[in-house]
C-alpha cells in the first residue's frame, strides 16, 4: 500500500472543500468535524486531524507531511505506522478534504 500510495500522491494540499470546517474535541485523540461543503460530520482520530491541520495552506510531499504530523503528535520520526498514515491520507482524499498532486516537480 505504501509504495502504491507514494506514486499516487507525490504531494498533497488542503482542498477548497475543506474550507470552513467546524471542529470540536472533548476526548483524547478524537475530533468531531463538520464539513460544510458536504454537510457531513466526521470523526477523526489524532493522526487524521493532524494531517489536516498540518497541511493548512501548504503543499507538502508525503514524507514531509508524515514528518510534520509525527512532530505535531509529539512522536518520534518513523513512529507513525505507514499503513495508518496512508489510510488516513486516502480517507481525507475520498472526503474531498485534501487534494493530491501527482507530479511534485510540476508544482514546486
Amino acid at each position: 500500500m505504501g509504495d502504491e500510495a507514494r506514486e499516487e500522491f507525490l504531494c498533497v494540499s488542503r482542498a477548497a472543500a475543506s474550507g470552513g470546517l467546524l471542529w470540536r474535541s472533548w476526548d483524547a485523540d478524537l475530533y468531531i468535524v463538520y464539513q460544510p461543503s458536504s454537510a457531513e460530520t466526521h470523526v477523526f482520530n489524532g493522526p487524521t486531524a493532524a494531517i489536516l491541520r498540518t497541511l493548512d495552506d501548504r503543499l507538502l510531499t508525503l514524507d514531509e507531511l508524515k514528518s510534520h504530523v509525527e512532530q505535531a503528535l509529539g512522536a518520534q520520526r518513523g513512529d507513525l505506522a505507514e499503513a495508518d498514515f496512508f489510510a488516513a491520507v486516502h480517507r481525507l482524499d475520498e472526503l474531498g478534504l485534501i487534494e493530491r498532486v501527482q507530479a511534485a516537480d510540476d508544482v514546486r
Partner: protein
Amino acid sequence: MIIGDLARQDVAQRLAGDGLGIRFGPFNIRIRSELASFAALAHQLYAPYPIPGEASFNDFHVRLARPRGLRRWWRQQVCFAVDGQSPFAPYTVEHAFPALEWGINWCVATRSHHLLMLHSAVVERQGKAMLFPAWPGHGKSTLCTALIHSGWRLLSDEFGLVHPADGSVLPIPRLIPLKNESIDVIRRFRSDAVIGPAFYGTRKGTVAHVRPPLDSIRRADEPARPRWLVFPRWLAGAALSLTRMPKSQAFLMVATNSFNYEVLDATAFSLVADMVDACNCYSLCYSNLDEAIRVLGELADADQG
C-alpha cells in the same frame, strides 16, 4: 381559556365545525372530528391545555375523518389527515384517539425545521433540563413518566426541541403514550396518575395516554437549559448503573437520533456540540424505577453548578 372551561358539548361542536384549537407548547393545532367518542376523550384528557386566541396562527390543521369509498361501509375506519392529506393507512375507528396523537407527533417531526428536534424525553428541575435521548423500546417514556410524578417538570416525552437562537429546550408537554407493560408499571408507581383508557391491538400494541401533571402544562412557555444527557436503557432484572459517557460518543448518539440534524446542517452541528459542552453525559441501565428516580435525583442535587 383552557379546554376544560368548555362544556363537553361545546368541544364536540367545535370539533365538528371549524375545529377545536389547542396549544401544545410552541404549536397551535386545530383539530376537526365528527366522532362523538373522540370528543368525549378529548374533553377529558385535553382539559388543562390552553385554547389559542381566535386570531392566532395555527401551525397544523388536522382531522379525523371517515375514509371515502366502499371501505367506509365495509369496516368502521378513520383516517388522520393534515392539510387535507392522509399520510397513513386508515385506522380502526376505535383507535381514533391514538391515531390523532401519533399524527400530531408526525406533524411536529416532519414540519418543524425551524427548531432542532431530538428524539428525546426531557424533564426539568430548577431550570436545568435532563435529556433522555433514546430509540423506541429503551424505556424513556416510562422513566420520564415516573420522573414527572416525582417532582420533575415535563418538557416532553418525545421531542427535545432546541431553539437555534440560544440552545434552550422548549417544552411541549403532550400526553405520554405508554405501551404494553409500561401502563401497569406506572399505575403501580403512582395510583393518582391521570391515565386514559387502554387501546388494545393498535399498531404499537396496547396504548394508554398519561396526562402530565398540571404544573407541566401550565409552564409550557418556560424553556430550560440543557444540563444532563442521560442515555437510558431498561433491561429486565438489570442492576442499576449510571456511568459517565465520553462526550464524543454522546455527541454522535444525539446527532444520529435527531429528527432533522441533516436538514439544519452547520446549525445542528453547533447546537448539538454546544449542548454536549454544557452537559454531563451518562449511560443509565435500570430495571427498578424507584432506584432510577433516586439516582437521578441525587445526580441533580449534587450538581449545583
